[in-house]
């Protein structure tokens, strides 16, 4: 058991780094890039925690993870204790430990952040969850409660919002059923985020644990077709809509329907969910471009471009209309991409995809941009520089300019109001919609956001559903 160190020592010690696969190595495989902490790393990092009370980090976590408490148990090598502490409030620790933007959440709120070296909370969460999986640790038993057990809850969508809501409700004893359109549960975690950032076996494991707690998950079940939300409202005591924002956007520029033009959603779904990177062992094909342009500057674009590199592209290029400072992707993702040799065509926008005589992509015509006055988002608005057109010779173009609401669920939900973009209107604190039996949360309310905000929305809805049904 390791000792508690003195505050002065805590301030002196640096953040414990996490080992990574070397860039030139990792672009040849789909294995995870960061390799995780060893027990020694984890203890050294845990010892730095100031154990603040009240803890700013907890306030920064939408899943209310009891951060100082679990970190303290790591110092004692009490993995089970640490794991149960996290699991009290977060059903997806191995996922969140990997993909949360901790710099904006818990680590952003950490007192040590002011010294520029916040506690590596994400890495510690990942460490505990991974160790617990290795040790096959059990979750706490859900409560058996006669008052809640006969109440049925339907959840639409098995992404992080739906899963988090289900886990909290089943813990309270409710009879919970999730309806998921795809053949696997996990939402973006399973179809969008690449294997090298979030191994699918880990998502599968955390989903399985939620199933073991008693949540029924029906895959291959599309709400809006097999059943309407209206039917669920009849058959269940409460309904939580968590169907995400998965519909892809396109530019509408000429040549966008040529062979070799993908939405990022399609490209990533083929590679992640359908495992096209392992073709022909897996049956789903993907066009492995030699020169691939990915249009967009967000996390999805970074995932797509790094996937293209791993699928064998010699040149994998980000085409983004503003400059690097405006890129919405996490700094860490951009750095990873740069280290892997991704090229950046900044202040550049596509105007046309050019095809060959067989209808395959052969080039992307672009125009140079310059930044003008700030727009509503506060970022400087890009403007075309007339006459600056040029072409990039590429054989695959991936459009990663955002996702929209898919109307299938909403049009089967009478009395549940949507806004002009098709997102459900829901109370930020409770997830309540305009229908008294229906709650909503995650990307289908906020538009594309983050895993942890979806988890937070699922938890708030669970709390509000419980309050409503038990009053």
């Amino acid at each position: 058991m390791a000792e508690r160190i003195k505050p002065a020592e805590k301030f002196k010690r640096e953040r414990t780094p996490m080992k990574e696969q070397a860039p030139l190595e990792r672009i040849k495989n789909f294995k995870e890039v960061p390799l995780g902490y060893t027990l020694e790393d984890a203890i050294a990092e845990a010892q730095r925690c100031l154990q603040c009370n009240p803890a700013a980090c907890i306030a920064g976590c939408p899943a209310d993870v009891r951060i100082p408490q679990f970190i303290d148990k790591v110092i004692d090598e009490d993995i089970e204790g640490a794991f149960l502490e996290i699991k009290k409030t977060n059903a997806l620790p191995a996922v969140c430990g990997r993909v949360c933007p901790q710099e904006d959440q818990c680590e952003g709120a950490c007192v040590m952040e002011k010294k520029g070296k916040p506690i590596a909370i994400g890495r510690l969460e990942r460490f505990v969850a991974d160790k617990a999986r290795e040790l096959n640790l059990k979750d706490a038993e859900p409560t058996r409660n006669a008052n809640t057990a006969n109440k049925k809850i339907a959840i639409v969508g098995a992404g992080p919002a739906g899963l988090a809501c289900a886990a909290d409700l089943v813990k309270l004893g409710y009879d919970v059923t999730i309806f998921e359109a795809l053949h696997k549960a996990g939402g973006v975690l399973i179809y969008g985020i690449p294997e090298f950032r979030l191994p699918k076996s880990i998502v599968g494991y955390e989903v399985e644990k939620i199933r073991e707690m008693g949540v029924k998950i029906y895959t291959d079940y599309v709400i809006g077709y097999v059943k309407k939300v209206d039917d669920l409202v009849e058959e269940y005591d409460a309904v939580f809509l968590a169907n995400g924002a998965g519909a892809p956007s396109f530019f509408g520029i000429p040549g966008e329907n040529l062979k070799g033009v993908y939405s990022a959603s399609e490209y990533l779904t083929r590679s992640n969910l359908m495992r096209a990177f392992d073709f022909p062992k897996y049956d789903t094909p993907i066009t492995k471009g030699k020169k691939v342009a990915v249009v967009g500057g967000g996390n999805v674009a970074m995932d797509a471009v790094r996937t293209a590199k791993r699928l064998g592209a010699d040149d994998a290029i980000i085409v983004y209309r503003r400059s690097r400072t405006e890129m919405p992707a996490r700094a860490e993702e951009i750095e990873h991409a740069e280290a892997e040799g991704i090229q950046f065509e900044l202040l550049t926008n596509p105007v046309k995809v050019i095809g060959d005589e067989n209808g395959n992509v052969k080039a992307l015509e672009c125009v140079k941009m310059e930044l003008g006055e700030p727009d509503e988002s506060g970022r400087r608005r890009p403007k075309e520089i007339p006459g600056s057109n040029f072409t990039l010779d590429v054989d695959v173009v991936i459009i990663a300019i955002g996702q929209n609401a898919n109307p299938i669920v909403a049009r089967s939900a009478t009395g549940v109001e949507t806004n002009k973009w098709g997102y459900f209107v829901a109370d930020e604190e409770t997830g309540k919609t305009t229908h008294p039996k229906v709650w909503a949360g995650g990307d289908i309310v906020t538009g594309a956001a983050t895993v942890i905000l979806a988890v937070g929305a699922g938890k708030k809805a669970a709390k509000s559903i419980h309050e409503t049904l038990s009053s």
């Binding site: 998965g246 329907n257 495992r275 073709f279 062992k281 066009t287 209808g359 109307p407």
Partner: protein, 278 residues
Amino acid sequence: MAKILKKEQWSESIFSMLIEANEVAKAAQPGQFIILITQESGERIPLTIADASPEEGWVQIVFQVVGKSTYELSLMNEGDNLYSFVGPLGIPSELEKFDGKVIMVGGGIGIAPIHPIAKKLKEMGNHVVSIIGAKTSDLLIMKDKMEKASTELIIATDDGSEGTKGFVNQVLENYLEKEKNVSQSWIIGPPIMMKFTVQSALKYGVKTFVSLNPIMVDGTGMCGACRVTVGGKTKFACVDGPEFDGALVDFDELMSRQRQYVEEEKEAYHMCLNERRA
């Protein structure tokens, strides 16, 4: 998981299966499709629903072996479980009692998706004229079912081995030459057949609906693999269709896009056949 209840081989390469899928069968309407996966490593295969029985809880699919995935599906037997089976997907056909006759043209494997639409239209009291065709008599499927689902049934084969010799579009033109009281038509088959048959119908001013089968992944509007151009606009066939006004469809683009993975598909099919032989 969905169980194969019944399997029939209708020709060298055409198979029919009844799949146990209670809720899909209950919800299925004419014009809709399903997506299935044979095994964990398989791809998502979209197939139009050929028939469904809500009472008995099955959905009928009809497919032709064209590559690895359909080949592997054809090797599965009664009692086997499909890894995944999801549906019904897509917008159902808009059906009503029309004043004039309705014409159903089914080419090859396209006869299967024509069937539930014809059946329903007839139930609604329409005068249903079906023209079904195939390369040769052996490949002509669902004759009995189409007979029942139609008021008049006209058969055509390219080689004249059964019914009229010739392509279905020619047979349609001959029919429209004599019959003027036609309200609408459905034309389903290979894209090239739909393209020419739509042109034939339009010559006589008959409105057409076609059912498109582009490459799909999710089938629920989340990827855009199924993009088709209809009336100059991009549509997602899986959620905006699969049925569209035939006059507006860019069939050449559809045919080109369907060929995106021919090389990969060949590679996979050959590897699979070699493995089976070894």
